[in-house]
Symmetry: C2
Subunit: 176 residues, 2 copies
């Protein structure tokens, strides 16, 4: 999903500024399944303005650049809806952790133990953030998305508790 559609989608849930969109994508409910930086969000919003899919009202503030609050237009809503008609592409899951485990085995087997224990902390952390997001979330779909994320993180953690031990033993016995 490109940044333009992502912005359109976020705006369908309520008006927002570029800054707010970035925050949602970086830390909010969207952080679990998307990513975008200022360098792609601001240009995307400008292009959406040019094609009339969003409008923008400015609120002046003292000491700061004007806040530019974007809203979806009727056209934007239709465009989003027709994007939603397409079946979503497969997930893109890139995990340096899994790659590291697989590649460390041959060249640096002692590393595996550490990777696993660090990974548990990672999942615990993700679970904490998702749990706190769950407190705020409102719409059924929002609850569903957070729930989906939580469920996966918990499953991953449980897997590490079980299979992580086994792997560590296996790799260590190979070293010996």
């Amino acid at each position: 999903m490109d940044v333009k559609t992502l912005c359109l989608g976020i705006l369908s849930l309520g008006d927002a500024t570029g800054y707010e969109i970035k925050k949602l994508v970086a830390d909010g409910a969207f952080s679990f399944f998307s990513e975008a930086s200022y360098g792609s969000i601001y240009p995307a919003l400008t292009k959406l303005m040019d094609s009339g899919l969003v409008t923008c009202r400015s609120e002046s503030q003292d000491g700061r650049p004007d806040k530019k609050i974007y809203s979806l237009t009727e056209d934007g809503e239709q465009t989003l809806k027709s994007s939603m008609r397409q079946s979503p592409g497969p997930d893109k899951q890139r995990s340096e952790f899994l790659a590291s485990v697989l590649f460390s085995e041959a060249v640096y087997p002692e590393r595996v133990t550490q990777l696993i224990s660090e990974r548990k902390l990672y999942h615990e952390d993700r679970i904490r953030s998702l749990t706190s997001l769950q407190q705020e979330e409102l719409s059924p779909a929002g609850r569903f998305v957070i729930g989906y994320g939580l469920h996966i993180q918990r499953a991953a953690l449980a897997f590490l508790e079980d299979a992580g031990e086994l792997l560590v033993q296996d790799v260590e016995s190979d070293v010996v």
Copy 2:
């Protein structure tokens, strides 16, 4: 993880051609956590040659371009090992499915039911491929990585069976 390190890692598990690396990344054990196209793999291998991290022997074939089989050098192994010392970055999980669920709710709620049922098929498919990969896999780390993937896919499917129904009901009652 950049394509160069990915190639180095795959070569640490055994010699391979660019074509084989692409296949592993697209359909094999690596497909669960990485991605790369010919357009990035071939140039990466050339660069790795230039910096002496891999060597290459050619096997001529009739009617086809020579097979170029790459092997890790001692230098390549050390470089990979020092990459492995870095703690792996966070997972990058991009899910058009989750975005679609969240964004459809407002502009196209009937779509949600379909998204969920298509998604079940998606997970079932992933489970099938991972299960068949599990048959071939050999090393402890390989088994661990596939197991991790399987566990997550199963958890996701289970979540959909439970929460998917609820969501569909919620969204439908909102429409009415």
